[in-house]
């Protein structure tokens, strides 16, 4: 890797392969284990269906109840802003769609680049605000572990390098594009082994919650 182009090709080739392999292996291992273990058999007669409430809860739990919003307005609002921004940029930026198309064979329309740019900027501000709040808030500070800062760091790296690459703020371009791809690869490698798995497991947990309550005929 004696020059930026070789670095870029390394991140697009062998390193991408390693990252995606570790991600797929780690994530599938965790998910299959979770699903196979399932939950303890409930012998009580079901009062209602599990499926409807299960799926409904997967969505409804995305919105904080009024009490939570009142107590932790900042967390809910900032959390929502940067999570949504991250997802929109990930799935609606044209170069990302091209990547997804090349791997999975599916594509969809993207957003114009200036819109993505604005969303990225808001996401970055949201991420910084989340970190500052974590550092300033005594309870959060006390509860935070190394893993919290690690997951924030790898997430922030992905967005900031993407922003720098889009605006071509680092020269030469192959270097900054390579750095962006490398930071995504670090994100993918770290994902199955940290709380970043919540991007999959959060929805599974919500389904179980909703299903358990639904079976009992209780609103969730």
């Amino acid at each position: 890797m004696s020059n930026p182009m070789e670095f870029l090709l390394w991140t697009k080739g062998p390193m991408f392969n390693w990252a995606i392999a570790i991600f797929a292996l780690g994530m599938l291992a965790r998910l299959v284990e979770i699903f196979w273990l399932g939950r303890k058999t409930n012998y009580a007669e079901a009062r209602a269906s599990e499926w409807g409430p299960g799926f409904r809860t997967m969505i409804t739990r995305s919105f904080a109840d009024p009490g939570t919003f009142k107590r932790s307005g900042f967390d809910v609002l900032v959390g929502w802003i940067w999570h949504l921004g991250f997802i929109l940029v990930l799935f609606l930026f044209i170069p990302h769609i091209e990547l997804i198309k090349s791997v999975f064979g599916v594509a969809w329309p993207g957003l114009p680049n200036p819109v993505i740019d604005a969303i990225s900027a808001v996401t970055l501000v949201g991420l910084v605000a989340a970190l500052v709040h974590r550092l300033m808030h005594p309870v959060k500070q006390h509860l935070s572990t190394f893993e919290d800062y690690l997951t924030w760091g790898v997430t922030f790296l992905v967005v900031i390098t993407g922003y720098l690459a889009y605006h071509r703020l680092v020269n030469p371009y192959p270097l900054v594009l390579g750095l962006h791809i490398l930071s995504v690869e670090i994100f993918l490698i770290v994902l199955p082994f940290t709380k970043l798995t919540h991007m999959f497991t959060a929805f599974i947990a919500r389904w179980y919650n909703g299903a358990i309550f639904g079976r009992k005929g209780v609103q969730s």
């Binding site: 090709l9 392999a21 797929a24 994530m27 284990e33 273990l37 114009p112």
Partner: protein, 365 residues
């Protein structure tokens, strides 16, 4: 042999008008990002310049670089300059052949020791590889390069093969091809990459050398910044479409007809540094992107191994789908085994359960 006439005299002999000459000088100043006031200084310097002897070595190449230069658009001031200065030794253009040709090279070197320029196009089999892959007059490319460069003032590596190894160095690099800069480390080197390079860029570099007697300011790849300082993407006239998110998705869709951005069709413009977008080809007629084809990135190292020409820059070169499937299956097996082991442990725990009564506990205590 190097002519003793000045460039001005020679150009006048070839029928180049003063107006045409000044136009070239102004274009050169502009290309080199110099202020317009430098035009007269360039003109004065070029007028008086005694063109140095140039020895042109062709190794593992396709002659495309020479073709680009000589057949670009003629007659021009550019190739008149080149005609005169490049004739001491050039496989394709020289009249002499056999021993006489090699004698001409040696004589030019002796006569202009320390001041001649060596232009190289093509890569060469590097040390440790089979020298038989490319020889001239029974000598290996490596020996000829080392011998010729010894008395040179500077080396200009023309084309991506000479600058970075080019197509001969493409995986699996059967000839062990290397670039000039991999071999020559004790002389100033200017890389004028491109497959082929824009003729005006080559003559621009030579004009700078003739004008100022110095090498141009260069980037990390030793390419003159005046021509390679900005990317194709940054100077592309289709850039507004990229910014708006308007892309051609096939070569004959409405987007392609409307001239939208070619990113999704594999354009490597964002990662390619060259002057095509501003200087264009064929006397400024057009350039690849203007003619509707994505940039291949030919002035960058490794462009030949950088994935499909028609795949977007963001697409990995690795076969990610295959990796994902294999690793996913392996992960599912690992997860399945882990779950099975856990279930087995649960079953054992139930089977091995030894209920203890209060009486038994009290006895034990």
């Amino acid at each position: 042999m190097a002519t003793q006439k000045t460039l001005g005299e020679s150009l006048r002999e070839h029928g180049v008008t003063r107006r045409g000459f000044l136009k070239f000088c102004a274009a050169t100043a502009s290309m080199m990002a110099l202020p317009p006031t430098m035009t007269s200084a360039i003109a004065a310097a070029l007028e008086k310049a005694r063109r140095p002897s140039v020895i042109w070595l062709s190794f593992q190449e396709c002659t495309g670089c020479t073709e680009s230069l000589t057949r670009s658009h003629s007659p021009t001031v550019e190739n008149l300059i080149l005609d005169v200065i490049s004739l001491d030794y050039h496989h394709t253009l020289q009249a002499a052949s056999g021993d006489a040709a090699e004698e001409a090279r040696l004589a030019a070197m002796k006569e202009n020791w320390g001041s001649y320029l060596v232009v190289v196009d093509g890569s060469l089999p590097g040390p440790g590889s089979n020298m038989g892959y490319s020889t001239i007059a029974g000598h290996s490319n490596l020996d000829i390069l080392k011998e010729t460069v010894e008395g040179a003032a500077a080396v200009v590596a023309v084309g991506t093969c000479a600058a970075f190894g080019g197509l001969p160095r493409a995986f699996p690099n059967p000839t062990g091809a290397v670039a000039v800069q991999d071999i020559i480390t004790n002389k100033p080197i200017i890389n004028v990459s491109g497959c082929p390079p824009i003729p005006t860029v080559i003559t621009g570099v030579l004009a700078q050398y003739l004008t100022f007697g110095t090498l141009p300011e260069m980037d990390d790849y030793k390419r003159p910044l005046a021509f390679f300082g900005q990317s194709i993407h940054d100077r592309c006239y289709r850039r507004p479409f990229y910014d708006k998110g308007l892309f051609a998705e096939t070569f004959d869709d409405e987007g392609a007809k409307a001239g939208w951005c070619l990113y999704r069709l594999g354009c490597k413009g964002p990662s390619t540094y060259n002057a095509c977008a501003t200087m264009r080809w064929n006397a400024g007629t057009s350039w690849p992107v203007e003619s509707g084809h994505p940039c291949l990135g030919c002035s960058e190292p490794d462009f030949w191994d950088a994935g499909g020409f028609y795949q977007a820059l963001s697409v990995p070169t690795a076969n990610a789908t295959h990796t994902l499937a294999v690793a996913g299956i392996a992960g599912a097996v690992v997860g399945g085994v882990a779950a099975a082991v856990a279930k087995k442990q649960q079953q054992h725990a139930v089977a091995d359960r030894e209920p203890v009564t209060i009486e038994q506990l009290e006895q034990r205590l």
